[in-house]
Amino acid sequence: MRKLKFIILLFLIFSLNLFSQPDISGYLKFLSYLNIYGENKYLFERNGTRLQLKLSASSGKASFFTSVNIDAYKGSKEGLGINPVEFYIDLNLDFLKLRVGRQFVFWGKNEWNSPTDVIIPWDYENISSEIEDYRIPQTMIQGTGEFKGVRIQGIFNPVFTPNVISFQSTPFLQFEKEELPEKKISNSEFGGKIAFNKKGWDISLSFWDGFEKFPSIYFSFDPLQRILKGTPKYHRLRMLGFDMEKTWGSYGLKGEFSYNRTEDKDGKNIFIKNPHLKYLFGFDWLPTEKLNLQIQYLREELLKLNIETENQEWMKLQIPPKIPEKVTDYGVIITRWNPSDFVSFQLVNVRNLKSKDWLGLLLGSYEVQDALKLIGGLVLFEGKKGTTFGNLKDSSRFFLELKYSF
């Protein structure tokens, strides 16, 4: 991290000399995040202040942007920290835009459950009102060109970063340190996307060769300690994606599809996730200018899953079988309501339709005056232990923020 901060400092000094008339903006906010469930050691997950500074400038066809968070917190996330968010240089040529540096790139048409959104990892322990808290920007090279209405994008990410999730050990299961891929060029990630508009449909085709953001857990039984051990490891993933979207006045339709080829090509490795398909259908409706409703259905289907073979493999290891579901269905509801020009509410609910675990986010915002906002919210994870959202229950919290942008 120190190395990264040093690089950013050098980058800033270099940039300020190279570019003229830098533009400084950002925000200052006071925040309070209250843990909802009593198992947490702290009543407040965090209480404190954040100053975000954004610096941008341009010179001819080149421009740069950087943003840094200076956080001072009390609570379970305590201390004073300088946390870089983004820093990149853009080169804008007539037919090509090149962006180099720490940045966000989101693929897909949806914010919360996009089958083709495979580039930027999530921090599931830090869901808040700011995207830079729960998505982790990557240091990448991105090139985008446009030729006769067809947009072609190429991305190269030299170092893989996984999702942030908690591995909670129990008296019967002990998690070992996660094993990340070695930092070498053959372990880099890369991909491309072609996007175009055909008869009002926005269509894109994408390809990504990277790593699974969720780990494969390698289980073993330690007979001396009489405990089950789990080691998180990350494996290569190749994704082929397709998405499309069209609007008709106040109605919209969107569809997304991805084929994900994991390292368990024939479905025989019980630890690595099988190759799988993900598809999503979404419907958007704006009944009035103040209300937006979105309903989405997402299905994930494991391919080459042979339950009998899986059972046998687990038996050989003398470990109770952990057979994944062949099909997992999710329902997503997103509602945005602006009762007045300066008040807005947002409700997001993502639910596993079979195991019934869910994530809920309720966000309310009131613009007290220009650039001054009062934001209140609730993030709730519910479900049985062992389910995706049930495991995150302790990250549920209520939050309140007063944010001044400048």
């Binding site: 853009d90 048409k109 009002g200 609007t247 006045g249 109605y251």
Partner: protein, 261 residues
């Protein structure tokens, strides 16, 4: 005698057409089609003053390019207030189908294709709607010339504009618009807007008209909501026309550009 008729006939025909007043539709065609620019750049300052005197300010940099009479692309970068800085909006108008609208939200770092609730939606929480700031489509309304009046001493046609269908009425939010059009240059000086229940609720006053590179622009206008007693003032500055804006600017790729010059 024959010679006399040959001279008289054209004079009579000319006099007939000269005396015959233009129809409401013909006047509005001149209003809409008089513009002679292909592309335009402008800085837009929007001030909203509520009934208690509370003031909110917005600042936008806008770029427009015409591809045909009914096909225009418009790109807007929001500069103020600070919390929306970095937001940008691309509208692609089509002749034969609904507009495509794309919004880049820096808070989400994403370009989103957005739905249109009709053109009656408020533009940046002001009293101007998207219909008010866009180029009106002639076919959306039928036009009646209901009189001629002087407005601040300037002779004007008074045109009543009625939506051609209930759908247009719903989309624009207007059951009627009455416009005062200057006779000499076909610029709109004033408009009264009637809500769907038939009540007059908004009044537009054009305060300043400027000629920039032989094109007339309404550069300062105020929209007053006479029910809520709120006023929105829109001012265009630094207008430049026909600078040769490139097609590549009006693309999704431009929406997250750091600095647009």
């Amino acid at each position: 005698m024959k010679k006399f008729y040959f001279v008289l006939l054209p004079i009579l025909i000319f006099s007939f057409f000269k005396a015959y007043p233009e129809t409401g539709r013909e006047i509005m065609e001149k209003v809409v089609n008089k513009e002679t620019w292909n592309d335009m750049t402008a800085d837009l300052y929007l001030t909203i003053v509520d009934s208690k005197g509370g003031k909110r300010e917005r600042e936008i940099k806008s770029f427009m390019k015409k591809y045909s009479a009914d096909e225009t692309k418009m790109l807007m970068f929001f500069l103020k207030p600070a919390d929306v800085r970095g937001t940008s909006f691309l509208i692609v108008e089509h002749k034969d189908r609904d507009d495509d609208r794309y919004l880049y939200l820096p808070a989400l770092r994403r370009v989103k294709r957005i739905l249109a609730s009709g053109k009656g939606g408020s533009f940046m929480a002001s009293d101007f709607s998207y219909y008010d700031i866009g180029k009106p489509k002639l076919e959306d309304f039928k036009y009646n010339l209901i009189g001629e009046e002087k407005l601040d001493g300037v002779p004007c046609y008074v045109i009543e504009c009625l939506p051609v269908s209930p759908q247009i009425e719903k989309d624009t939010g207007y059951s009627k618009i009455v416009r005062w059009v200057r006779k000499d240059n076909y610029m709109i000086l004033k408009s009264d807007y009637y809500s769907r229940d038939g009540k007059k609720f908004k009044v537009l006053d054009v305060e300043k008209i400027e000629e920039i590179q032989n094109v007339l622009f309404a550069t300062v206008m105020t929209m007053k909501d006479i029910i809520s007693n709120r006023i929105s003032r829109m001012e265009f500055r630094n207008i430049k026309v026909n600078t040769g804006l490139k097609d590549s600017l009006f693309s999704e790729t431009s929406l997250d550009r750091i600095n647009i010059e």
